[in-house]
Amino acid sequence: MFKFIKQNKFVPILIVVLLAFFLRVYHVRNLPPGLYDDEVSLGYNAYSVLTYGKDEYGAAYPLWFKAFGEYKLPGYIYADIIPIAIFGKNAFAVRFPSVLSGTLTVLFLYLFLKNLLSFESKKLKEEFQHIPILSAFILAIIPWSIQFSRGAYEATMAVCLFTIGLWLFSLFYKNKKIPYLILTLLFLAFASYTYSSFRLLTPVTASTIFFLLFWKKLASIKSIFSMAIYTIVINLPLMLFTFGSHGFVRFFQTTTFTEQALPLSIAPKSSLQGLIAFSFIYVKSFLSYFSLQELFLKSQDNVRFYSSSEFGFLFRWQLPFLVAGLVVLLREKSKVIKKIILAILLVTPAAVAVANSPNSLHALLLVIPFSVIIAIGIQSIVKVKKLWIRVAFVGAIIFAIFEISLYFHMYLSHYKNAYMIFWGGAQEKMAQYATKLWNSKNYSAIVINEDFLQNEKIHFLFYNDKLKPIFVNSSWQKPPRWKNKSILYIRYPASVPSDSKMKLLKTITLDTPLRQPVAQFIQL
């Protein structure tokens, strides 16, 4: 078997990619438990464009999708049309682009690193020969990547497109063929059309590429000029959107530069004082991406970002390898790999630190440098011949096996119960029950009290867009013109007065051992 693997060099990466796909696709329909607001919004808009040629607000084939008071970028939604056409309107189809992107990132990281190695010295090539496959393996099993590949996250797709772009550029650098450069700039543009963080990361990368084109004379001036025009043209709609009134909505929603971010003792009396204070807030946000708590423990991020209450974004066993890898990487006289990995490691947080930080989703691209550094650390420690290091390494491997097993055990057995409330399991159940009642009885209307059941509209659209419920607040009362009509009223559980004309039909609970009530179905 080992002989077969040695003879067929594609076998190890094939195994790693299959492993990555399996870890991302296994039970993805039910785990995470239910589709949360952004997922149903992406899924419904894809379905709506596929079926009606319009988004949920009736705009025909839009480039920006209005949702929850902001505008979503189009990349993920248009990519989701094909899975929805094939698999139907369900959680699997909504999450499929993310699953596929998470898997392909593993493959393209391998190809990218393989290509980068060809630029290195013979010594380093030999020393780092297993880094591409090891990095791909680390990326395949890292909780950070698994968690964001199993939910419909635009960031996962953008990271994949960006990695493909980097790989294509490495091909261009090697072969100096312009089509590779055209594709590089196209994939980088796709990434920025997919996720907001890349609207900052892509221009930085593209500028670096153009700087290299000039500095290293990789192409003729005529070609560089044509490429610059091409880049502007493909990014023009995005630039107009970004600098238009809608483009800043997301920035203002997530920016770290708010007065609340300032310490209580600081009350800027002038714009200069404010500027100085905010520059320190920015430095703090930047540093937060290197916090060990954030990386290895469950920190103060969004709970949906974690695969378990016991795990952060990296495994604990990876910490010594991360340290070792960083030391080796800084020490090595590498021509390309060192510069690229360190650049991604520093530029990513520098770009996303303008938003509330730390945010592991904004900084998802960091999985790339972390995977490579950990892989370098593992390889460097394997090569040390000291007995105590070998013993420690064996111990680390045993602990790694235990920790990885615990991770998947927690994910498969605890996650559904502990996290269903944060995902959309309840909304799915509500929409299904409302459909059942609507079909079995002759209700005139469905009325939903959205005071405690926010964003229900998009869930009802996704699960059954024929229902068309009316959304009201708690002060709503049945209008006299509906006096003799039967109404289905859905609200957050509260006591039903005995003297009222309300008839409690059912209280929907979460499918967890605690059975938390989430909604009441009342006949008015």
Binding site: I266, S291, L292, L297, L319, V323, V327, H414
Partner: protein, 196 residues
């Protein structure tokens, strides 16, 4: 006077100021301390969610050894939390500290005493995790903060010995940023310790 000496003296002043403001602390907060009660509670919490899992797996995954080990790990990394380090070393000191450990792990430190210091800084947090250092915070500072600062100074020493003028200027800028950090955020170590 050489720039490196100016920076060295400024660093000592910075550390002195930080130490002085740290004296407001009485003890490290609970995040730094191992507690068997917390571990037992957490263990019970984990087991409670394992209704249908075979007993062997429940015992294999959720036992006192693993939960304690994870808990100790969580406490240990508090001592290397980037913001904790910024508060005891300042931004410039953090840079020196990281450089010191880079030198240590890259095996570029030859002096045995400095090597011992590096190992001590890595091991000393365990004394506080298991609350073996008494209750006086000044003693804790002597064991848990001052060695970090010495390591940072050593890092700067190694750094300034070999590096170019431009890097020393960077260090000077970091020193100014450290002062700015203190002005903007004040003494944030108070969020890592108890004051009464």
């Amino acid at each position: 006077m050489k720039l490196r000496y100016v920076i060295f003296i400024l660093l000592i002043f910075l550390f002195g100021y930080l130490l002085r403001s740290d004296l407001k602390c009485v003890n490290y907060n609970g995040d730094f301390h191992y507690s068997s009660v917390v571990v037992s509670f957490h263990l019970k919490e984990l087991i409670a969610t394992e209704e249908q899992t075979p007993l062997f797996f429940v015992r294999f995954f959720h036992n006192r050894i693993t939960v304690s080990a994870f808990d100790i790990f969580a406490r240990y990394i508090q001592f290397f939390n980037i913001f904790y380090l910024v508060n005891i070393l300042g931004l410039a000191g953090l840079f020196g500290f990281l450089h010191f450990y880079y030198q240590f792990f890259a095996k570029e430190i030859k002096n045995k005493l400095i090597k011992i210091l590096a190992v001590l800084v890595l091991l000393s947090p365990f004394l506080e995790i298991f609350q073996l250092i008494g209750k006086t915070f000044s003693l804790k500072m002597l064991i848990l903060i001052i060695p970090y600062q010495i390591a940072s100074l050593a890092g700067f020493f190694y750094f300034s010995k070999r590096e170019k003028y431009i890097w020393l200027t960077t260090y000077l800028i970091l020193l100014m940023l450290s002062i700015g950090w203190i002005v903007v955020f004040g003494n944030e170590l108070l969020s890592f310790c108890t004051t009464s």
